[in-house]
């Protein structure tokens, strides 16, 4: 399997293309939510409208990302599984998922949760400020996997 992926030369770039398009979907959705949580364009839309619009687009590409990511690992396992940058990426991913859930879970009971008090608005800004660097780190680590040596 690993060998056939490497010999059919269009598979890896094609899978990477799908992977990048899904990354684009997740990242832009994260950005839209975080900018609103940070207070940008606050007069246009309530937080609840922005989260309802974009949160699903953070989660549904995830299975595609995991599947395409798994194909890329299968293609070159030495490059990925023991690669410290790959492990860093997975760690950052878990942290980012945790931060996203911290934003999302309170909304289940009340879509306006993050706008109900000044304290909650501050907490939402903190969540956004934690989320953005994590996702930037995920993208950077993803690209560095190709350059780092398996450790």
């Amino acid at each position: 399997m690993s060998q056939s992926i490497q010999t059919i030369e269009w598979i890896i770039p094609a899978v990477q293309t799908v992977h990048i398009l899904c990354v684009a979907t997740v990242l832009t959705s994260v950005l839209m939510i975080d900018l609103r949580l940070l207070g940008f364009r606050r007069r246009e839309q309530p937080v609840a409208a922005v989260t309802a619009r974009f949160l699903p687009f953070i989660w549904w590409p995830l299975p595609i990302l995991l599947a395409t990511g798994a194909v890329l690992i299968t293609a070159e396992p030495a490059r990925s599984l023991q690669n410290p940058v790959f492990l860093l990426k997975m760690g950052l991913l878990l942290a980012a998922a945790g931060v996203t859930l911290a934003c999302q879970i309170p909304l289940r009971h009340n879509p306006a949760y993050w706008e109900l008090s000044a304290g909650r608005r501050r907490a939402a800004r903190l969540i956004a400020a934690a989320s953005l660097p994590l996702w930037v780190g995920i993208v950077f680590a993803g690209r560095w996997i190709a350059y780092a040596q398996a450790g």
Binding site: T28, L31, R143
Partner: protein
């Protein structure tokens, strides 16, 4: 003529530093990938609204005004970082078929966007909810989305048709 320009570009001190440095190229690549994902994602928000699939509760003009400043600033980052990557090996990239395809697709995407803004969207303020936009807008959105997907693909193929890290 073109070749001597590419050679001169490649011989600049910045291009040489990127080519010969151990980590400069991957760092610039990181910025390029980050910027382009936001470019594609934000364009997709506008295109999907034009097609009528998402953000149907908001007017097209509202969606566009909120998103396009992000698109353009990230496009500038992608263009600058991409230009730096290109300069590091300009003679090779310049002759790479997928690079040429990518540039041609970018040009077509620019034409599609200009046609939309100049000729197709003069009545954009009236495209409010409920969400159906004119056929011409849905066509522009679909064409744009397909072009940008092809731009990502051709960009990724460049790396596999050179003898460089993938």
């Amino acid at each position: 003529m073109l070749d001597s320009f590419l050679q001169a570009l490649q011989d600049t001190s910045i291009a040489t530093a990127i080519r010969e440095g151990a980590t400069l190229f991957p760092w610039i690549e990181c910025v390029h990938v980050l910027a382009l994902t936001v470019v594609i994602g934000s364009i997709a928000i506008v295109d999907l609204r034009l097609i009528g699939l998402t953000s149907r509760d908001r007017g097209v003009a509202q969606v566009t005004a909120a998103v396009l400043p992000i698109t353009w600033s990230m496009f500038a980052c992608a263009a600058i970082s991409g230009g730096l990557l290109f300069s590091s090996n300009a003679t090779v990239y310049g002759h790479n078929r997928y690079f040429q395809i990518k540039m041609a697709l970018l040009l077509v995407a620019g034409v599609n966007m200009s046609v939309y803004h100049l000729f197709m969207s003069s009545d954009v303020q009236t495209w409010r909810t409920p969400a159906v936009t004119p056929l011409r807008a849905r066509i522009c959105g679909t064409v744009s989305l397909c072009l940008w997907i092809a731009i990502v693909a051709s960009g990724r193929w460049i790396g596999f048709t050179l003898n460089a890290p993938t």
